[in-house]
């Protein structure tokens, strides 16, 4: 997995609550059997004016000029600023895959849906939960200031603003370690293989009908 240590980038403000995973990546793109290539269809229904199809060349599709990703000032942005309950809906990991493939490395929001939040950490994406008031102020600062950037430092758990002020954020220490080192969860779990086997043996004694 890709490591996340520090990220400095343009902030893309997506001013919409309850952004669901269908909105992030519509279902017709879930037919792929690969993990990559979803970036061009990120937010497809909001980003383009026509109905998107899998394996389509998106460069000639009509774009929605009002949508934030289509505004030149946010080109190359890597930090998504969002509203509450971001990522609600399905468990599709295609949602973080699409964000990552597009170039997003960090999402800042007042709250996230559980499964999406969890999926981000499996893909080198850092979701940061901040108080609603702070998120509001970031929206107020981003929108009028072209080229507005933030620098996210996971080691220090800080967000540095251009004016030098710093916002602290919280993160679970297991997830922090995993992102900083780009760890492979499966290898880590397999270090406990003996414990799993011992558990399984005890569980089998207790609930033999589960092992027939």
């Amino acid at each position: 997995m890709k490591k996340f240590i520090k990220e400095k980038g343009i902030v893309i403000p997506l001013d919409r609550a309850n952004v669901d995973t269908d909105y992030i990546i519509p279902k017709q793109f879930l037919k792929s059997i690969k993990r990559t290539g979803f970036g061009k269809n990120l937010f497809d229904e909001a980003r383009y004016l026509d109905k998107g199809l899998p394996d389509q060349d998106c460069s000639s599709r009509p774009i929605n000029p009002d949508f934030v990703l289509n505004q030149a000032r946010y080109a190359g942005g890597s930090i998504l600023l969002a509203r509450e309950n971001f990522g609600c809906g399905s468990s599709r990991e295609h949602a973080p895959w699409a964000l990552e493939d597009y170039g997003i490395r960090c999402i800042i929001a007042p709250s996230f849906a559980d499964i999406f939040f969890n999926n981000c950490f499996k893909n080198g994406l850092l979701p940061i939960v901040l108080d609603n008031k702070i998120v509001n102020s970031l929206f107020e600062e981003t929108v009028p200031n072209e080229g507005y950037e933030l620098e996210v430092d996971l080691t220090e758990q800080t967000i540095l603003k251009a004016d030098g002020s710093v916002i602290k954020f919280e993160i679970d220490c297991a997830r922090k370690k995993s992102l900083l080192n780009g760890l492979d969860d499966i290898s880590l779990t397999l270090l406990h293989a003996d414990d799993i086997k011992n558990f399984e043996e005890r569980w089998k004694q207790k609930s033999p009908w589960l092992f027939t």
């Binding site: 909105y23 468990s91 990991e93 558990f199």
Partner: protein
Amino acid sequence: MTGKTLYDKLWESHLVKDLDDGNSLIYIDLQYIHEVTSPQAFEGLRLAKRSPWRSEANMATPDHNVPTTTSERAQGVEGILDPVSKIQVKSLDANCTEFGINEFTIDDPRHGIVHVIGPEQGRTQPGMTIVCGDSHTSTHGALGALAHGIGTSEVEHVLATQCLQQSKAKNMLIKVNGELGRGVTAKDLVLAVIGKIGTAGGTGYTIEFGGDAIKALSIEGRMTVCNMAIEAGARAGIVAVDDKTIEYLKGRPFSPSAELWDQAEAAWRELHSDDDAYFDKIIELEAIDIEPQVSWGTSPEMVAAISKNIPDPAQMENDAKRGNYQQALAYMGLEANTPIQDIKIDRVFIGSCTNSRIEDLRAAAAVVKGHKVAESIKEAIVVPGSGLVKAQAEQEGLDKIFTEAGLQWREPGCSMCLAMNADQLGEEEHCASTSNRNFEGRQGFGGRTHLVSPAMAAAAAVAGHFVDVRDWT
């Protein structure tokens, strides 16, 4: 000492060990697998040269993008017209063969929606931990199992290790007191709950549904309720084991038998929260206050009772909510203060892992019997949840009731719930749908979904607009 909740008991019985970093390793008894969220997980196993920890602890079926027309289904996997969908279904078949996983293939008579066939086959059992790369895995909690959706990385993790790294959720009890009124169903109950607590109300919690109204529900009704726990933000919803649970499991193909049954039953009967268990949050509702529900917006929390009007954004308490409501109404092409009963319908979908079981089909058939679908309806489809549900319905003559009324009788699959196959809404079409999500574009680009119970969808099919099924004759 304080007692334990059902969730506490399920968690503790599956705890392999607490890890140094604050997470825990939790053992998973069963993983359900489908074609959309698994190919990348199997590919990961291949690349790392890993094999499944316990291949028999997995069960697979293709459901998300299988076609539902009889002509396409007659030729099995080769009959799938969409080449991309066909590749995905074939990949599942090949992966299951390669890794030794039991699959109910598209042409198996027991094939169907994974959350319908799991309980139907008796694979889902009380006291289990169950995962699937699908958020509606919460359905299986209706049988006293701890079940929730996971992403593809975790699908691979469970395949390789039989475990998940997790931190424990908080406990919430949603207690529904009293008795539901006539014509008010499990679907209305859960939509009313989501309307009350919101789509993020359960985030970070496991929700136990309890109270007399839940106890009075059938197991299928409880599945409808737990299915939509995720729509309230909770990954898992659970209901305590009782006589109905035990009765439901008796004699199913994968249920234990003989001595093992007695042993299992004794263990299952312990699966309830203790009287003095501590819940971080308790929410109570009175069943008598719940009317048939209809969603009017683009989030499952945007619901209203059939007797009410579409809410007015101007009346909302803050700017954010006002904005959300305005955005939703603009997408839905609806005006504030319109009576819910005046919303006209173009299409009807009866199906999905929420409402495609035999009781759902019986309820819908009872409403349309002797009636005709309104002329203004472009298409009304009934998609049974499994091959066995379909066969049972046909034995009861429900298929005839539907087709005589002008509804189409289809083959099992997820169908128009997420519209990955050809079953889709056109732009700006309103659909009375028994599914679980009314997000923008969910049922087709520009489509407008209204979530309702099977009986309410059936009544809307006949009337061409929403009607109160309690007044149906």
